[in-house]
Amino acid sequence: MTHSTTTRRHHLATLAGLASAALVLAAGPARAEDTVKIGVILPMTGPSASTGRQIDAAIKLWMAQSGGKAGGKKVEVLIKDDAGVADTTRRLAQELVVNDKVVALAGFGLTPLALATAPIATQSKTPMVVMAAATSIITEASPYIVRTSFTLPQAATAIAEWAAKNKIKKVVTLVADYGPGNDAEKFFSSQFQLNGGTIADKLRTPLRGADFAPALQKVRDLTPDALFVFLPSGQGAQFMKQFAERGLDKAGIKLIATGDVTDDDQLNDMGDVALGVVNSHHYSAAHPSAANKKYVADFQAANKFRPNFMSVGGYDGMRVIFKALDATKGAGGDALLAAMKGQIFESPRGPVLIDAQTRDIVQDIYIRKVERVNGQLYNVEFDTLKAVKDPGKLK
Amino acid sequence: MSGAVDTPDDVVLQTLGLVKRFGGITATNNVSMIIRRGARHALIGPNGAGKTTLINQLTGVLAPSEGRVLLGGRDITTLAPHKRVALGLVRTFQINQLFATLTPLQSLALAVAGRRGRARRWWAPMGSDAQINAECEQLLAQFRLTDFANRTTSELPYGKRRLLEIALAVAQKPSVLLLDEPAAGVPGPERADILATVAALPDDVSVLLIEHDMDLVFSFAKTLTVLVNGTVLTEGTPEQIAADPQVRAVYLGDSVPARPGAHHG
């Protein structure tokens, strides 16, 4: 039995080690008076890691440009990885608020992650800036939530209007089967039908789904004028390839989508299949403005990849927080929230406003077409809907 | 259908014309034998004579192609193995079947508790039942495991594991005990323990011993049955068997196998 006694000792040793580890954690970092902390929670691992990567890069860019100072204080950004697991997000938020005394929470890659954290923001009166998640309801989950990304209804209704105006009569919708997907489906169809179009069928594909063959075959058999698609950024390339491979384009079915499908991050790898896809979104790396040109240039100087709509959400989120901190001289809580509401500024994406009532972002939505610009694929904007509020809020 | 045949009431286990065929081969060929109460009966035969096949039919691991098995006059030919155990027909295994991570004491305690219908208790810790403890103590002593009571079974010397194998069977208080090569592969000194404990089995237990070890067989058995190619060659007292020219020819001639357990299923 000697070995088992030794193993018992071993376990005791392990525990001792863990205990001391806990102590180290407990000690925590010393907090200086002239710094304010911002807690950012992002999915750096797992299926939606690309979201985290983009926003992370954007935040670093902002910190570099702004010199990391706001309201006369040094700003410290704590970035945590929740791997896209909701209860981790919530716990991290809890710790950031309780232990690190952050003045604001930010990040939130997916809807459930944001919703799970909302109660923390409410309880602790900590402003919570949603930089990515795009389901309409999020901002209603807590009076302390401010959104700098976009809402799917904004994009979906925009493309619906455009479609109806451009003699598309019969549409099939195909969305990923989760919160944002449902939003996109709901708001596209209602808007499209409002403008006199007909929805032939509403298809859903599993969120992790990879083979779109069955769905596409069904679309083909339904022979609509156009297919409206929403997929989480990343699946777009896959989808469009199969769209072409199945000969839907030749069958005269137009492909219209929200900008997630032609995500700047991967657009270039999609190849010619993406050419001519009409879609609606709030940001394109090709947005023709000085602010954006500078943004893209600086961003690509620091990273190997092109900024996408996620990054701009993060970038603007930081701006909103910093400007608010300037106003409150670094104070947090309700004051900070108040200072965030109603901010108007020129974002790389164009002019934006943080609506004081809904705390949601009001922005121009662009209708774009994928084109080849000096060798690279870009979403080139050719039509604009000015100052679009979140249709989800106009009930 | 139970005991249609008339059996003298001192017969505890009986087979009637057992036949077992595997495809073309007949492993057991019309075997009829009788085990009497308190018997010290040995079943011997060269390798592949079908001894283990026969045991498996007695214990219900294999279903015979023909014939019947009677336990105390009751027909158990189709009875499930664990039900036969309940009726007192218990076996030891040629290859140890032990609880590797338990101690001999725990294993025996479990066996006893099982027999006493207390193995389903989930609150009182094992060892809180005085009767079980007493019985375990007695079994440990009987099988010379007392000093090893608290070792992990997998760490016991082979001989001790062999003893535990038998002890677990005896803990069932069997009426008929089938010992399948109890001394198989046990080195010299420890073998003595086995011989002694087997010899010391209570008289009311009828024992059928399958063994290659001639010392064990002749020191132990009052009756011997010789099995050759699945057929009963002859049956009789050790003296008769030792004297039987046929047996000498087919069996005693050939050497005691080096490593029992290497052959048979």
Partner: protein, 341 residues
């Protein structure tokens, strides 16, 4: 711990001399280090309140691992779908709190019994077949439940998760009334208490004749039948009990975080708890606890500096653990082979 049979007393005199009763009881005796450890564990949320949330998560994972240990470490049933029970407990408790009553203790009971029921129903599936089929069937059950939860989004909130699970204060007769606070202090004590009770319960069970017979079953089914004990009955019993505990863990998660998401059914839940248990070492009750602590603390520490490559390190650790073997890294693991040959 089962293997440390030699009690201090037994170790002193020759084991043979001691009487069977004492030897058999020895493993069920509390040892000093066990008490010390529990004291230490309770101390953490008291003195390091800022880590209450982490403590809460650890306690929940530990309870989950404890339940897996019961079927894996003790009864030797491999499972890659233990999240099924975790999830049922979670959604059960969440829906109960939302639609029936917000009392935590009642909700806990409901979640536990629901998952226990599921365990009872699915237990026949793990009685037959090989390890591979068990892996597949357990995984399959979890996946099916995941799909179901996703389909019935009217009830479960689908991929958005089930929000707004508000618990009423924890009311314990004669002790008091505790409001779940932001710092998760109450939550951590609540979860720890449930874990502690479960630990005490299992400690009784594994040292009882039933518990011993479970280990016997893991070691050698053939012999267990040969001494006239039923294998099926035991498998069903242990599987149901384990399922119930997993459900309790799920319920705790929902009650202390205030929401349930499909994530509770995901494969990585089943994998994580398996890893935690393996780190701690299956087959002794402390395995789940030690594992859970190690797993969570390591995850917290590692992912805090080497941001996204935590999965690499845990993977490397597993590979080494399996190659080098527990003999040298943790403890022997001989008992997953069917019987000893």
């Amino acid at each position: 711990m089962r293997r440390q049979l030699k009690s201090p007393a037994g170790a002193a005199g020759s084991a043979g001399a001691a009487d069977p009763g004492a030897l058999l009881l020895a493993p069920s005796r509390w040892r000093l280090w066990e008490l010390a450890l529990w004291a230490a564990i309770w101390a953490v949320p008291v003195f390091f309140g800022q880590h209450a949330a982490l403590v809460n998560e650890i306690a929940i994972l530990a309870l989950f691992a404890l339940s897996l240990d019961l079927i894996l470490g003790y009864a030797g049933i491999v499972s890659l779908g233990h999240a099924a029970f975790f999830g049922v407990g979670a959604y059960g408790a969440a829906l109960f709190a939302k639609h029936v009553m917000p009392d935590p203790l009642v909700g806990l009971a409901v979640g536990t019994s629901l998952s226990a029921l599921l365990g009872l129903i699915t237990s026949p599936m793990i009685v037959r077949g090989t390890d591979l089929t068990r892996l597949m069937v357990t995984m399959g059950v979890a996946l099916v439940l995941l799909e179901l939860a996703n389909k019935f989004d009217g009830l479960t909130g689908g991929a958005d998760g089930l929000q707004g699970v508000v618990m009423s204060p924890l009311v314990i007769p004669f002790i008091g009334r505790f409001e779940f606070d932001l710092g998760a202090r109450v939550a951590s004590f609540y979860s720890l208490a449930v874990l502690f009770i479960a630990f005490l319960l299992l400690r009784r069970v594994v040292h009882s004749p039933l518990g011993i017979s479970m280990q016997a079953l893991r070691d050698n089914r053939l012999r267990l039948m040969a001494i006239g004990l039923s294998v099926q009955g035991r498998l069903v019993a242990v599987y149901t009990l384990a399922a119930g505990l997993a459900g309790a863990a799920g319920a705790l998660l929902v009650q202390t975080t205030g929401f349930a998401s499909l994530d509770v059914f995901e494969f990585h839940r089943s994998a994580d708890v398996l890893l935690a248990l393996v780190i701690g070492g299956a087959g002794w009750l402390w395995g789940g606890l030690v594992g859970a602590i190690a797993f969570k603390v390591l995850h917290d520490v590692i992912s805090s500096f080497t941001a996204q490559y935590w999965t690499f390190w845990i993977g490397l650790f597993l590979v080494l653990l399996m190659l080098v073997g527990r003999e040298r890294l943790f403890r022997p693991w001989s008992w997953f082979k069917r019987g000893q040959r």
